[in-house]
């Protein structure tokens, strides 16, 4: 996917994953470029989420991996847990599906927004707080200064996901993995969160891996689209081509399953 001037910031090649004797991923190839959103589609159990988790080294215990996950030339799979922890949240960060469970219910927004800032960037309390206010402003949380002292249950679902995005972006990562970031949200707030992601991607030059089973979401903001099935990428390419002229039978089935698209 390296077309000319853009360099791959994250390149996954031949990634395999075995968990409890079962093959979950059978050689996944993906490449992310700065400022571009790469959509990863596929049905439940196709290995989308595991691909994301493997990138962060957050696989369940007992998982065995093969292949390479290169972040600017460094193979993440060969790093020690300690080395990986340095990159995690700093160079690669993640937004989870359901913000009502991915934010700690008993810790204030300020706490959750600044603890990794202070850990990774060694900011002092005051500087971290200022940065947190900036971040909340960036994701359009009203009264950001006041919001720092509040708790997740005092925000709506959409706001919570914006906060989760702010947390993920706090240390200015190069790669953001967004795992079904809009699935748990009301349809009315989905568009806002997607627009925010698109905007941040353009403004910050972030490389985004957008994991979703929703091709509608995909067609709205992705630059490239990859389709996964049974632990393999069956089709990959620019959004326009994949969604209008699908090469693979499975992609066609997925598109046909979309409501209002059955005539395609």
């Amino acid at each position: 996917m390296t077309d000319g001037d853009t360099v791959d910031v994250l390149r996954i090649s031949g990634l395999t994953l075995d968990l409890g004797g079962a093959r979950i991923l059978g050689g996944v190839d993906l490449a992310l470029q700065p400022g571009r959103i790469h959509g990863l589609a596929g049905e439940s159990g196709s290995g989308k989420t595991m691909t994301g988790l493997a990138t962060l080294g957050l696989l369940p215990p007992g998982a065995r991996t093969g292949g390479r996950i290169e972040l600017e030339g460094t193979d993440l799979l060969t790093l020690t847990p300690r080395q990986l922890a340095v990159l995690r949240g700093r160079s690669v960060s993640m937004v989870f599906q359901d913000p009502s469970t991915s934010l700690h219910p008993m810790l204030s927004i300020g706490h959750q927004l600044t603890d990794h800032l202070r850990h990774h960037l060694k900011l002092n309390r005051k500087a971290a707080k200022e940065r947190a206010v900036d971040l909340l402003t960036q994701v359009r949380i009203p009264n950001p200064r006041e919001a720092l002292g509040r708790y997740p249950h005092q925000f709506s679902g959409g706001m919570r996901q914006r906060i989760a995005i702010a947390i993920a972006l706090a240390c200015e990562p190069k790669v953001l993995i967004a795992d079904e970031p809009t699935t748990a949200l009301d349809v009315t707030v989905q568009a806002g969160v997607l627009r925010l992601l698109r905007g941040l991607c353009d403004d910050l030059g972030l490389a985004v891996l957008l994991v979703t089973h929703d091709l509608g979401v995909m067609s709205a903001i992705a630059d490239e689209v990859s389709v996964m099935r049974h632990g393999l990428v069956v089709e990959t390419g620019p959004r326009g081509r994949v969604l209008t002229e699908p090469q693979h039978e499975y992609t066609r089935q997925l598109l046909d399953a979309l409501p209002g698209r059955s005539t395609v």
């Binding site: 957050l58 340095v86 219910p105």
Partner: protein, 386 residues
């Protein structure tokens, strides 16, 4: 007896409110006027959610305390048995004049509701009545028994919390591995071994066989108690700088406290383990790891905070059980605590003493529950902020 008691409660906010509501039925304007200041006050209090939460819980606790006195009184008087017969000698029982005088002296000749009101009135002055056995005021008896038990239970719960929570966390982090299996067996043993048996065994081994532990009681024989400040001999001795007394008190405390620890450590290990395992599966723990936080930070700030909520509940109940007297352990180690006192009073039908013990136990549970509720509020913002 409840009609007598109810009106006095009715004069409080609740009863008056109901009456006011009914009276205002003729005109809705009145109701509006009385209703208007409420939201304002509520908003003001809502600015200090923790204070508001505390206020509410304390008010409930006071009402419950009243309930405790009633229940203690009723239950004590339901016991079939004649205090006069239990306390007077064989010959005196035959003499109606002596029995009548005994009954009159202790107010047993009055109707029960009157006795209850008198009891409540006296209670307000700190008068719990006079023990028919010791012929001292029950308050005096309790003021030595309660600190003795408090010292024992306090030592046991502190050790149990430290060891139990540590065991539980370690077991959860090593789930299904050897360490976990081992700790689970230990905790199972702790919960299932009968405490009195363990007490006897410990006494036999550490005192009789090995001579490591001092004998029964709270201090070595011949030693005088430190000047009374808290009633806890270890604390009082340390305050007075009487170090030999302090070490003697610690030595005497160690064995019974450790025996009591066995059960609570087992209990807390099991609860902590399952609570930590549940929290480890939560998305927010995975999210915290995805942020690249060190494992230590994730454990102490993200996992333990959430896991402590159920642990605190169990620890509170266990502490209440320890405080309300551990009859068997106290009698084996001749520990002059609440359990021993309760046993003595119950077997002699010493009603004022029994009621005193019942009241203390009730209040202990109320206080512990209140403390647990407050801790919830401190730990979990969802409890205090609605």
């Amino acid at each position: 007896m409840s009609p007598r008691w109810a009106p006095s409660k009715g004069t409080g906010g609740k009863g008056a409110g109901v009456e006011g509501g009914e009276g205002a039925g003729s005109g809705d304007g009145d109701r509006l006027v009385t209703a208007r200041p409420l939201p304002g006050r509520r908003r003001l209090l809502a600015r200090h959610p923790l204070a508001r939460f505390l206020l509410r819980r304390t008010a409930t606790a006071i009402l419950l305390a009243l309930g405790v006195t009633l229940v203690t009184f009723v239950l004590t008087n339901l016991v079939p048995g004649d205090p006069a017969a239990a306390n007077l000698g064989q010959r005196a029982i035959g003499d109606p004049a002596i029995v009548a005088q005994f009954r009159h002296h202790y107010g047993l000749d009055k109707p029960l509701p009157v006795q209850y009101v008198t009891y409540l009135g006296n209670l307000l002055h700190g008068d719990l009545g006079e023990s028919q056995q010791s012929h001292q005021s029950v308050l005096t008896d309790l003021s030595t028994a309660v600190p003795a038990t408090l010292e024992l239970a306090g030592a046991a719960i502190v050790v149990s919390l430290i060891v139990g929570v540590a065991f539980g966390v370690v077991a959860a982090l090593h789930r299904d591995r050897l360490t976990d299996q081992l700790l689970r067996v230990i905790s199972l043993l702790g919960v299932s071994v009968p405490t009195f048996w363990l007490a006897l065994l410990a006494f036999y081994i550490f005192f009789y066989r090995l001579g490591w532990a001092p004998g029964s009681g709270r201090l070595d024989p011949g030693m005088t108690a430190p000047p009374h400040v808290t009633g806890l001999y270890t604390v009082d001795a340390a305050l007075a700088g009487q170090w030999p007394v302090f070490w003697s008190a610690v030595g005497h405390l160690a064995l019974p406290a450790l025996v009591l620890t066995a059960y609570t450590v087992g209990l807390l290990t099991r609860f902590t383990r399952s609570a930590v395992l549940e929290v480890l599966n939560q998305d927010y723990v995975r999210a915290a790891r995805a942020k690249g936080l060190p494992a230590r930070t994730v454990l102490f700030q993200y996992v333990l905070r959430a896991a402590l909520v159920p642990v605190i509940t169990v620890a509170g109940l266990a502490f209440g059980a320890l405080l309300s007297g551990t009859v068997l352990v106290e009698s084996i180690f001749a520990w002059p605590g609440l359990g021993a006192y309760a046993y003595r009073s119950a077997t002699t039908l010493d009603l004022p003493a029994v009621m005193g013990v019942g009241l203390v136990v009730g209040l202990v549970y109320l206080t512990v529950n209140l403390a647990v509720d407050v801790l919830y509020g401190v730990i979990d913002p969802r409890v205090r902020v609605q």
